[in-house]
């Protein structure tokens, strides 16, 4: 039982914690006022999902950049006898590649590189059987 004092059910943070602890991925709604509490709850749910998605993308991007930069530093230390300019490039180039790869990842997730189609099951409204 979740108690709330605002229209949205997610105004009580216990609900989000409950869903996360139970690894809930699909949420159905049964309510009285579609234009009121149900609407507010759905809007908050979308906000939560988008926040999680953005946080996931940021972590992915930082991870990719860190990986390439790490490889650059490894090359830097393995090429002690090379000229300094070449060694600096050994860091800069992998780092730049990491940034480019990260951008490509973000663009692909954002649907810039290729069109994304929202699955029909996500757009479908649940219809009660035999009614």
């Amino acid at each position: 039982m979740i108690a709330k004092a605002s229209p949205s059910a997610f105004s009580n943070p216990e609900l989000e914690q409950y869903f996360r602890s139970h690894d809930v991925q699909y949420i159905y709604m049964v309510g009285v006022f579609a234009e009121g509490c149900v609407r507010s709850t759905v809007i908050d749910l979308v906000d939560l999902a988008l926040s999680s998605c953005i946080a996931f993308q940021l972590v992915s991007v930082l991870g990719v950049v860190a990986l390439f930069t790490h490889l650059g530093f490894a090359a830097y230390w393995h090429a002690q006898s090379s000229p300094r300019v070449a060694r600096v490039l050994m860091i800069d180039l992998p780092s730049a590649v990491g940034v480019v790869v990260s951008l490509l990842i973000v663009m692909s997730l954002a649907g810039v590189l290729f069109s994304l189609e929202v699955p029909t099951q996500y757009k479908a409204t649940y219809v009660l059987p035999n009614r």
């Binding site: 039982m1 979740i2 108690a3 709330k4 004092a5 059910a9 216990e14 609900l15 409950y18 869903f19 139970h22 690894d23 809930v24 991925q25 699909y26 949420i27 159905y28 709604m29 049964v30 309510g31 009285v32 006022f33 509490c37 149900v38 709850t41 009660l128 059987p129």
Partner: protein, 93 residues
């Protein structure tokens, strides 16, 4: 299989009980909502979904919010309680 949940929102006497509700919907609409809720709770539909009741509950100290209500939704008020007619007892958290 991905886990799913079903939110049962505001199924309270205040909204569904035409006789005693503060802002009730039409009796037929309220009956339809209860029927769907019962089908969820008896696992006739959305079999794998975890039912979660969500209720309005204003604390007594919420004087500003309550001042706009003719019958405040205090936790002790009858209108605060769940609408009767469920065939399965709600799972307490």
């Amino acid at each position: 299989m991905p886990k799913s949940a079903v939110l049962l929102m505001d199924l309270q006497r205040d909204f569904l009980n035409v006789a005693g509700g503060r802002t009730p919907v039409e009796a037929s609409d309220g009956k339809a909502v209860l029927q769907v809720a019962n089908e969820v709770l008896t696992k006739s539909i959305l079999v794998d979904a975890l039912p979660v009741f969500v209720m309005n509950q204003f604390p007594v100290t919420a004087r500003i919010g309550n001042s706009f209500s003719m019958e405040p939704l205090l936790s002790e008020a009858p209108a605060q309680s769940l609408m009767s007619g469920f065939s399965v007892r709600a799972r307490k958290k």
